[in-house]
Protein backbone atom coordinates (compact mmCIF):
# COMPACT_ATOMS: atom_id res chain seq x y z
CA UNK A 1 0.00 0.00 0.00
CA UNK A 2 1.67 3.17 -1.17
CA UNK A 3 1.01 6.33 0.79
CA UNK A 4 -1.49 8.50 -1.15
CA UNK A 5 -1.88 11.36 1.28
CA UNK A 6 0.76 13.90 2.12
CA UNK A 7 1.67 13.19 5.74
CA UNK A 8 4.46 15.74 6.05
CA UNK A 9 3.92 18.19 8.89
CA UNK A 10 5.64 21.45 7.97
CA UNK A 11 6.70 23.48 10.95
CA UNK A 12 6.02 27.12 10.24
CA UNK A 13 7.91 28.22 13.33
CA UNK A 14 10.71 25.70 13.13
CA UNK A 15 12.10 24.72 16.55
CA UNK A 16 15.86 24.83 17.00
CA UNK A 17 18.27 22.38 18.56
CA UNK A 18 19.75 24.21 21.55
CA UNK A 19 22.12 21.40 22.47
CA UNK A 20 22.44 17.66 22.28
CA UNK A 21 24.40 15.00 24.11
CA UNK A 22 25.22 11.35 23.54
CA UNK A 23 26.56 8.92 26.09
CA UNK A 24 27.61 5.34 25.37
CA UNK A 25 29.12 2.23 26.90
CA UNK A 26 32.59 0.78 26.47
CA UNK A 27 32.04 -1.27 23.30
CA UNK A 28 30.39 1.69 21.52
CA UNK A 29 33.23 3.92 22.72
CA UNK A 30 35.70 1.56 21.03
CA UNK A 31 33.84 1.95 17.74
CA UNK A 32 34.60 4.36 14.88
CA UNK A 33 32.61 7.20 16.51
CA UNK A 34 34.32 6.84 19.89
CA UNK A 35 35.76 10.37 19.82
CA UNK A 36 32.39 12.01 19.21
CA UNK A 37 30.51 10.94 22.31
CA UNK A 38 30.20 13.30 25.26
CA UNK A 39 30.95 10.50 27.67
CA UNK A 40 32.01 6.86 27.43
CA UNK A 41 31.11 4.91 30.54
CA UNK A 42 33.19 1.75 30.91
CA UNK A 43 31.12 0.42 33.83
CA UNK A 44 27.97 -1.08 32.28
CA UNK A 45 26.24 -1.08 35.69
CA UNK A 46 26.61 2.71 36.02
CA UNK A 47 27.18 2.03 39.70
CA UNK A 48 23.66 0.62 40.13
CA UNK A 49 22.35 -2.71 41.37
CA UNK A 50 20.48 -3.86 38.30
CA UNK A 51 20.81 -3.39 34.55
CA UNK A 52 17.43 -1.68 34.46
CA UNK A 53 18.54 0.92 37.00
CA UNK A 54 21.80 1.28 35.09
CA UNK A 55 19.88 2.25 31.96
CA UNK A 56 17.80 4.81 33.88
CA UNK A 57 20.95 6.33 35.30
CA UNK A 58 22.52 6.48 31.85
CA UNK A 59 19.46 8.27 30.44
CA UNK A 60 19.25 10.62 33.43
CA UNK A 61 22.90 11.57 33.03
CA UNK A 62 22.45 12.18 29.31
CA UNK A 63 19.41 14.43 29.80
CA UNK A 64 21.26 16.33 32.53
CA UNK A 65 24.28 16.75 30.26
CA UNK A 66 22.17 18.03 27.37
CA UNK A 67 20.45 20.56 29.63
CA UNK A 68 23.81 21.73 30.97
CA UNK A 69 25.14 22.11 27.43
CA UNK A 70 22.00 24.06 26.48
CA UNK A 71 22.47 26.21 29.59
CA UNK A 72 18.96 25.38 30.68
CA UNK A 73 17.80 24.43 34.15
CA UNK A 74 15.14 21.76 34.58
CA UNK A 75 13.01 24.47 36.17
CA UNK A 76 12.98 26.46 32.93
CA UNK A 77 12.28 23.42 30.75
CA UNK A 78 8.70 22.52 29.84
CA UNK A 79 8.58 18.85 29.02
CA UNK A 80 10.55 15.64 28.49
CA UNK A 81 9.62 13.24 25.73
CA UNK A 82 11.52 10.02 26.30
CA UNK A 83 11.36 6.32 25.65
CA UNK A 84 13.34 3.10 25.80
CA UNK A 85 12.94 -0.61 25.15
CA UNK A 86 12.09 -1.80 28.64
CA UNK A 87 8.60 -2.99 29.47
CA UNK A 88 6.37 -0.02 30.26
CA UNK A 89 9.29 2.33 29.42
CA UNK A 90 10.53 2.22 32.99
CA UNK A 91 14.06 3.37 32.16
CA UNK A 92 12.62 6.69 31.01
CA UNK A 93 10.11 7.05 33.85
CA UNK A 94 12.76 6.57 36.53
CA UNK A 95 15.15 8.88 34.71
CA UNK A 96 12.50 11.58 34.29
CA UNK A 97 11.44 11.32 37.92
CA UNK A 98 14.59 13.09 39.04
CA UNK A 99 13.85 16.23 37.00
CA UNK A 100 10.30 16.89 38.29
CA UNK A 101 9.18 17.93 34.82
CA UNK A 102 6.09 17.10 32.79
CA UNK A 103 6.95 13.79 31.20
CA UNK A 104 5.59 11.97 28.22
CA UNK A 105 6.83 8.37 27.94
CA UNK A 106 6.89 7.06 24.40
CA UNK A 107 7.31 3.66 22.85
CA UNK A 108 8.32 3.34 19.24
CA UNK A 109 10.97 0.65 19.72
CA UNK A 110 14.13 1.81 17.92
CA UNK A 111 12.21 4.64 16.20
CA UNK A 112 11.56 6.34 19.54
CA UNK A 113 14.17 9.11 19.11
CA UNK A 114 12.50 10.28 15.91
CA UNK A 115 9.09 9.99 17.57
CA UNK A 116 10.24 12.03 20.57
CA UNK A 117 11.71 14.69 18.26
CA UNK A 118 8.45 14.80 16.26
CA UNK A 119 6.37 15.27 19.40
CA UNK A 120 8.70 17.90 20.87
CA UNK A 121 8.92 19.79 17.57
CA UNK A 122 5.14 19.81 17.03
CA UNK A 123 4.61 21.02 20.60
CA UNK A 124 7.18 23.80 20.20
CA UNK A 125 5.78 24.85 16.84
CA UNK A 126 2.29 25.08 18.29
CA UNK A 127 3.53 27.32 21.08
CA UNK A 128 2.59 24.85 23.81
CA UNK A 129 6.21 24.59 24.97
CA UNK A 130 9.18 26.93 24.95
CA UNK A 131 11.84 24.32 25.73
CA UNK A 132 11.50 20.56 25.32
CA UNK A 133 13.80 17.59 25.72
CA UNK A 134 13.70 14.56 23.43
CA UNK A 135 15.69 11.59 24.71
CA UNK A 136 15.96 7.83 24.42
CA UNK A 137 18.18 5.06 25.68
CA UNK A 138 18.88 1.39 25.21
CA UNK A 139 21.12 -0.94 27.17
CA UNK A 140 22.49 -4.20 25.76
CA UNK A 141 21.90 -6.05 29.02
CA UNK A 142 18.28 -4.98 29.56
CA UNK A 143 17.37 -5.63 25.93
CA UNK A 144 18.96 -9.09 25.95
CA UNK A 145 17.07 -9.98 29.11
CA UNK A 146 13.78 -8.74 27.78
CA UNK A 147 13.83 -9.89 24.20
CA UNK A 148 16.36 -12.73 24.06
CA UNK A 149 18.26 -14.85 26.54
CA UNK A 150 20.02 -14.30 29.85
CA UNK A 151 23.38 -12.62 29.28
CA UNK A 152 25.51 -15.60 30.25
CA UNK A 153 23.42 -18.08 28.29
CA UNK A 154 25.62 -19.85 25.77
CA UNK A 155 23.86 -19.40 22.47
CA UNK A 156 24.81 -18.49 18.94
CA UNK A 157 23.62 -15.39 17.10
CA UNK A 158 22.66 -15.55 13.46
CA UNK A 159 24.65 -13.32 11.08
CA UNK A 160 21.58 -11.16 10.37
CA UNK A 161 21.16 -10.32 14.08
CA UNK A 162 22.11 -6.90 15.41
CA UNK A 163 23.79 -5.81 18.60
CA UNK A 164 21.77 -3.59 20.97
CA UNK A 165 23.71 -0.41 21.67
CA UNK A 166 24.33 0.62 25.25
CA UNK A 167 23.83 4.32 24.85
CA UNK A 168 21.54 7.28 25.20
CA UNK A 169 21.00 10.52 23.37
CA UNK A 170 19.17 13.68 24.36
CA UNK A 171 18.39 16.84 22.44
CA UNK A 172 17.13 20.07 23.95
CA UNK A 173 14.87 21.94 21.57
CA UNK A 174 13.79 25.56 21.81
CA UNK A 175 11.35 27.79 19.98
CA UNK A 176 12.15 29.28 16.59
CA UNK A 177 14.72 32.05 16.74
CA UNK A 178 15.92 30.95 20.16
CA UNK A 179 19.30 30.39 18.56
CA UNK A 180 19.78 32.06 15.16
CA UNK A 181 22.07 30.21 12.80
CA UNK A 182 21.42 26.91 14.53
CA UNK A 183 19.99 23.61 13.45
CA UNK A 184 16.23 23.71 12.91
CA UNK A 185 13.58 21.06 12.55
CA UNK A 186 11.61 22.23 9.55
CA UNK A 187 9.36 19.25 8.91
CA UNK A 188 8.40 15.94 10.49
CA UNK A 189 6.45 12.94 9.31
CA UNK A 190 4.95 10.28 11.54
CA UNK A 191 5.18 6.86 9.99
CA UNK A 192 2.51 4.28 9.31
CA UNK A 193 2.84 0.64 10.34
CA UNK A 194 4.30 -1.49 7.61
CA UNK A 195 4.45 -5.27 7.78
CA UNK A 196 5.68 -7.47 4.99
CA UNK A 197 5.37 -10.67 6.98
CA UNK A 198 8.88 -10.97 8.46
CA UNK A 199 8.65 -13.18 11.56
CA UNK A 200 12.34 -13.66 12.34
CA UNK A 201 13.23 -11.53 15.41
CA UNK A 202 16.90 -12.11 14.56
CA UNK A 203 16.42 -10.15 11.34
CA UNK A 204 15.01 -6.82 12.48
CA UNK A 205 16.64 -5.00 9.57
CA UNK A 206 14.44 -6.95 7.17
CA UNK A 207 11.36 -6.27 9.31
CA UNK A 208 11.97 -2.50 9.40
CA UNK A 209 13.25 -1.82 5.86
CA UNK A 210 9.75 -1.64 4.26
CA UNK A 211 8.66 0.99 6.79
CA UNK A 212 11.79 3.05 6.10
CA UNK A 213 11.14 2.75 2.39
CA UNK A 214 7.52 3.91 2.72
CA UNK A 215 8.39 6.93 4.86
CA UNK A 216 11.38 8.00 2.76
CA UNK A 217 9.58 7.53 -0.56
CA UNK A 218 6.52 9.46 0.68
CA UNK A 219 8.66 12.24 2.15
CA UNK A 220 10.60 12.68 -1.09
CA UNK A 221 7.46 12.53 -3.24
CA UNK A 222 5.37 14.98 -1.25
CA UNK A 223 8.22 17.39 -0.58
CA UNK A 224 9.13 17.21 -4.31
CA UNK A 225 12.74 16.52 -3.47
CA UNK A 226 15.30 13.95 -4.59
CA UNK A 227 18.03 12.24 -2.55
CA UNK A 228 20.53 14.74 -3.99
CA UNK A 229 18.74 17.55 -2.17
CA UNK A 230 19.97 16.15 1.14
CA UNK A 231 23.47 15.98 2.53
CA UNK A 232 22.48 12.86 4.40
CA UNK A 233 19.49 10.58 4.72
CA UNK A 234 20.13 8.83 7.99
CA UNK A 235 18.24 5.72 9.06
CA UNK A 236 18.27 4.52 12.65
CA UNK A 237 19.33 0.93 12.84
CA UNK A 238 18.58 -0.99 9.68
CA UNK A 239 22.03 -2.53 9.81
CA UNK A 240 23.65 -4.22 6.84
CA UNK A 241 20.68 -6.38 5.86
CA UNK A 242 18.02 -3.70 6.30
CA UNK A 243 20.04 -1.09 4.40
CA UNK A 244 20.50 -3.45 1.44
CA UNK A 245 16.77 -4.16 1.42
CA UNK A 246 15.93 -0.45 1.67
CA UNK A 247 18.05 0.29 -1.43
CA UNK A 248 16.50 -2.61 -3.31
CA UNK A 249 12.91 -1.65 -2.41
CA UNK A 250 13.36 2.03 -3.27
CA UNK A 251 15.01 1.16 -6.57
CA UNK A 252 12.41 -1.43 -7.53
CA UNK A 253 9.28 0.46 -6.53
CA UNK A 254 10.19 4.12 -6.88
CA UNK A 255 13.26 4.14 -9.10
CA UNK A 256 15.19 5.98 -6.40
CA UNK A 257 18.88 5.35 -5.74
CA UNK A 258 19.40 6.19 -2.09
CA UNK A 259 22.87 4.76 -1.58
CA UNK A 260 24.94 7.90 -2.39
CA UNK A 261 23.38 9.96 0.41
CA UNK A 262 22.33 7.25 2.84
CA UNK A 263 23.96 6.09 6.02
CA UNK A 264 22.69 4.06 8.93
CA UNK A 265 23.46 4.71 12.60
CA UNK A 266 23.66 0.95 13.19
CA UNK A 267 26.44 0.71 10.60
CA UNK A 268 28.27 3.82 11.81
CA UNK A 269 28.51 3.09 15.52
CA UNK A 270 30.40 -0.20 15.30
CA UNK A 271 33.21 -1.54 13.17
CA UNK A 272 31.46 -4.66 11.90
CA UNK A 273 34.71 -6.28 10.81
CA UNK A 274 36.33 -5.98 14.24
CA UNK A 275 33.58 -5.78 16.85
CA UNK A 276 31.60 -8.99 16.27
CA UNK A 277 28.24 -7.26 16.03
CA UNK A 278 27.06 -9.17 12.94
CA UNK A 279 24.64 -6.95 10.96
CA UNK A 280 25.35 -3.79 13.02
CA UNK A 281 24.02 -1.89 16.02
CA UNK A 282 20.40 -1.44 17.07
CA UNK A 283 18.25 -0.09 19.89
CA UNK A 284 16.77 3.32 20.67
CA UNK A 285 20.13 4.42 22.02
CA UNK A 286 21.83 3.67 18.71
CA UNK A 287 20.20 6.35 16.56
CA UNK A 288 19.86 8.70 19.55
CA UNK A 289 23.55 8.66 20.49
CA UNK A 290 24.78 8.86 16.88
CA UNK A 291 22.39 11.69 16.04
CA UNK A 292 23.00 13.68 19.22
CA UNK A 293 26.76 13.20 19.52
CA UNK A 294 27.84 12.99 15.89
CA UNK A 295 25.33 14.24 13.32
CA UNK A 296 23.85 17.29 15.09
CA UNK A 297 27.31 18.61 16.11
CA UNK A 298 28.45 18.14 12.49
CA UNK A 299 25.46 20.21 11.37
CA UNK A 300 26.25 22.86 13.96
CA UNK A 301 29.79 23.03 12.53
CA UNK A 302 28.28 23.56 9.08
CA UNK A 303 29.57 20.27 7.66
CA UNK A 304 26.04 19.08 6.92
CA UNK A 305 23.19 21.43 6.04
CA UNK A 306 20.17 19.25 5.36
CA UNK A 307 19.70 15.91 7.05
CA UNK A 308 16.63 13.69 6.91
CA UNK A 309 16.65 11.52 10.01
CA UNK A 310 14.46 8.43 9.66
CA UNK A 311 14.55 6.17 12.70
CA UNK A 312 12.88 2.82 12.29
CA UNK A 313 11.30 0.60 14.90
CA UNK A 314 10.36 -3.07 15.03
CA UNK A 315 7.21 -3.04 17.14
CA UNK A 316 7.35 -6.59 18.40
CA UNK A 317 7.20 -8.01 21.90
CA UNK A 318 8.54 -11.25 23.32
CA UNK A 319 4.92 -12.45 23.47
CA UNK A 320 4.03 -11.55 19.88
CA UNK A 321 7.17 -13.37 18.72
CA UNK A 322 6.22 -16.53 20.62
CA UNK A 323 2.73 -16.30 19.14
CA UNK A 324 4.37 -16.36 15.69
CA UNK A 325 3.09 -12.91 14.74
CA UNK A 326 4.96 -11.03 12.06
CA UNK A 327 6.91 -7.92 13.05
CA UNK A 328 5.19 -4.55 12.44
CA UNK A 329 7.71 -1.92 11.36
CA UNK A 330 7.46 1.84 11.61
CA UNK A 331 9.61 4.79 10.54
CA UNK A 332 9.26 8.43 11.54
CA UNK A 333 11.08 11.21 9.71
CA UNK A 334 12.58 14.44 11.03
CA UNK A 335 14.08 17.01 8.69
CA UNK A 336 16.96 18.99 10.16
CA UNK A 337 18.10 22.08 8.28
CA UNK A 338 20.81 24.54 9.08
CA UNK A 339 19.32 28.01 9.49
CA UNK A 340 20.85 30.49 7.06
Amino acid sequence: MTEKKNRIIRLTRPPVVLASAGLVGKKEGEGPLGDCFDEIVPDATFGKESWEQAESEMLRRTIELSLTKAQRLPATTDVIFAGDLQNQCTASSFAAQTFSLPFCGLFGACSTMALALCMAAIGLDSGAFATAVAATSSHFCTAERQFRHPLEYGGQRTPSAQWTVTGAGAAVLGRANAQPGGVQITAVQLGTICDLGVTDPANMGAAMAPAAKETIAAFLRFSRTAPDDYDLILTGDLGAVGSELLYALLKKEDGIDLSPVHNDCGLMIFDRALQDVHAGGSGCGCSASVLCAHILPRMQRGELRRVLFVATGALLSATSTLQKQSIPGIAHAVLFSLDN
Partner: protein, 146 residues
Protein backbone atom coordinates in the same frame (compact mmCIF):
# COMPACT_ATOMS: atom_id res chain seq x y z
CA UNK B 1 3.88 -1.11 -1.35
CA UNK B 2 3.32 -3.25 -4.41
CA UNK B 3 5.79 -5.98 -3.56
CA UNK B 4 4.16 -9.18 -2.26
CA UNK B 5 5.12 -10.80 1.02
CA UNK B 6 6.46 -13.80 -0.90
CA UNK B 7 8.66 -11.66 -3.14
CA UNK B 8 9.92 -9.77 -0.12
CA UNK B 9 10.70 -13.00 1.70
CA UNK B 10 12.74 -14.11 -1.33
CA UNK B 11 14.51 -10.78 -1.44
CA UNK B 12 15.27 -11.03 2.30
CA UNK B 13 16.68 -14.50 1.94
CA UNK B 14 18.93 -13.32 -0.87
CA UNK B 15 20.45 -10.43 1.12
CA UNK B 16 20.59 -12.01 4.58
CA UNK B 17 23.93 -13.64 5.31
CA UNK B 18 23.69 -17.29 6.28
CA UNK B 19 25.37 -19.06 9.16
CA UNK B 20 28.54 -20.84 8.02
CA UNK B 21 27.01 -24.31 8.39
CA UNK B 22 30.10 -26.45 7.76
CA UNK B 23 32.36 -24.34 9.92
CA UNK B 24 29.74 -24.34 12.70
CA UNK B 25 29.46 -28.14 12.43
CA UNK B 26 33.22 -28.55 12.58
CA UNK B 27 33.54 -26.27 15.60
CA UNK B 28 30.62 -28.01 17.35
CA UNK B 29 32.27 -31.38 16.66
CA UNK B 30 35.63 -30.26 18.04
CA UNK B 31 34.28 -28.46 21.12
CA UNK B 32 31.63 -31.10 21.90
CA UNK B 33 34.17 -33.84 21.28
CA UNK B 34 36.69 -32.19 23.58
CA UNK B 35 34.10 -31.94 26.38
CA UNK B 36 33.16 -35.60 25.97
CA UNK B 37 36.83 -36.71 25.87
CA UNK B 38 37.49 -34.74 29.04
CA UNK B 39 34.51 -36.40 30.76
CA UNK B 40 35.59 -39.85 29.56
CA UNK B 41 39.12 -39.24 30.82
CA UNK B 42 37.63 -38.31 34.21
CA UNK B 43 35.61 -41.53 34.29
CA UNK B 44 38.66 -43.65 33.43
CA UNK B 45 40.86 -41.79 35.90
CA UNK B 46 38.37 -42.17 38.74
CA UNK B 47 37.85 -45.85 37.87
CA UNK B 48 41.58 -46.43 38.13
CA UNK B 49 41.61 -44.72 41.51
CA UNK B 50 39.20 -47.40 42.70
CA UNK B 51 35.84 -45.64 42.22
CA UNK B 52 33.14 -47.92 40.86
CA UNK B 53 32.21 -47.35 37.21
CA UNK B 54 28.71 -46.10 38.06
CA UNK B 55 30.01 -43.70 40.66
CA UNK B 56 32.79 -42.53 38.36
CA UNK B 57 30.21 -41.63 35.67
CA UNK B 58 28.10 -39.69 38.18
CA UNK B 59 31.17 -37.86 39.48
CA UNK B 60 32.26 -36.93 35.94
CA UNK B 61 28.82 -35.52 35.24
CA UNK B 62 28.87 -33.55 38.47
CA UNK B 63 32.29 -32.17 37.61
CA UNK B 64 31.02 -30.95 34.23
CA UNK B 65 28.04 -29.29 35.90
CA UNK B 66 30.17 -27.54 38.53
CA UNK B 67 32.74 -26.43 35.95
CA UNK B 68 30.00 -25.07 33.69
CA UNK B 69 28.38 -23.21 36.57
CA UNK B 70 31.76 -21.70 37.43
CA UNK B 71 32.54 -20.72 33.83
CA UNK B 72 29.02 -19.27 33.44
CA UNK B 73 29.39 -17.18 36.57
CA UNK B 74 32.80 -15.94 35.40
CA UNK B 75 31.26 -14.95 32.07
CA UNK B 76 33.44 -17.31 30.04
CA UNK B 77 30.94 -19.98 29.10
CA UNK B 78 29.04 -17.89 26.56
CA UNK B 79 32.31 -17.01 24.86
CA UNK B 80 33.10 -20.69 24.39
CA UNK B 81 29.49 -21.50 23.44
CA UNK B 82 29.51 -18.76 20.81
CA UNK B 83 31.89 -20.98 18.87
CA UNK B 84 30.90 -24.37 20.30
CA UNK B 85 27.19 -24.09 19.48
CA UNK B 86 25.60 -27.52 19.70
CA UNK B 87 28.96 -28.82 20.95
CA UNK B 88 28.43 -27.02 24.27
CA UNK B 89 24.61 -27.19 24.27
CA UNK B 90 24.12 -30.94 23.81
CA UNK B 91 26.33 -32.33 26.61
CA UNK B 92 25.22 -31.69 30.19
CA UNK B 93 27.18 -28.42 30.01
CA UNK B 94 24.34 -26.88 28.00
CA UNK B 95 21.79 -27.91 30.58
CA UNK B 96 23.86 -26.58 33.46
CA UNK B 97 24.39 -23.25 31.68
CA UNK B 98 20.66 -23.01 30.92
CA UNK B 99 19.95 -23.32 34.66
CA UNK B 100 22.72 -21.08 35.98
CA UNK B 101 22.49 -18.17 33.54
CA UNK B 102 18.84 -17.16 34.20
CA UNK B 103 19.36 -17.72 37.94
CA UNK B 104 22.34 -15.38 38.07
CA UNK B 105 20.57 -12.78 36.05
CA UNK B 106 17.35 -12.78 38.04
CA UNK B 107 19.02 -12.17 41.41
CA UNK B 108 17.95 -8.54 41.14
CA UNK B 109 14.31 -9.62 41.38
CA UNK B 110 14.91 -11.49 44.65
CA UNK B 111 15.85 -15.04 45.58
CA UNK B 112 12.35 -16.53 45.45
CA UNK B 113 10.43 -14.81 42.65
CA UNK B 114 13.64 -13.92 40.82
CA UNK B 115 16.46 -16.44 40.96
CA UNK B 116 14.48 -19.54 41.95
CA UNK B 117 11.47 -18.85 39.74
CA UNK B 118 13.58 -18.09 36.68
CA UNK B 119 15.96 -21.01 37.24
CA UNK B 120 13.82 -23.26 35.05
CA UNK B 121 12.82 -20.71 32.45
CA UNK B 122 15.07 -22.26 29.80
CA UNK B 123 15.73 -25.71 31.24
CA UNK B 124 12.09 -26.28 32.27
CA UNK B 125 10.87 -27.38 28.83
CA UNK B 126 13.83 -29.79 28.58
CA UNK B 127 12.83 -31.37 31.91
CA UNK B 128 9.13 -31.54 30.97
CA UNK B 129 9.65 -33.13 27.59
CA UNK B 130 12.65 -35.17 28.72
CA UNK B 131 10.63 -36.73 31.56
CA UNK B 132 7.57 -37.17 29.34
CA UNK B 133 9.65 -38.93 26.70
CA UNK B 134 11.22 -41.14 29.38
CA UNK B 135 7.77 -42.11 30.66
CA UNK B 136 6.52 -42.97 27.17
CA UNK B 137 9.72 -44.91 26.43
CA UNK B 138 9.35 -46.72 29.79
CA UNK B 139 5.81 -47.75 28.97
CA UNK B 140 6.75 -49.03 25.54
CA UNK B 141 9.69 -50.94 27.05
CA UNK B 142 7.46 -52.42 29.76
CA UNK B 143 4.86 -53.74 27.33
CA UNK B 144 7.38 -54.99 24.76
CA UNK B 145 9.21 -56.99 27.38
CA UNK B 146 6.01 -58.71 28.53
Amino acid sequence: MSISKEDYARMTRRVSPRSPLWLDCLKAFLVGGAICCFAQALVEGLFRLGVSRDNAKTLAMMTLIVLTALLTALGWFDRIAKHGGAGTAVPITGFANAMVSPTLESKAEGFILGAAAQMFSIAGPVIVYGCSAAAVYGLIYYFLRK
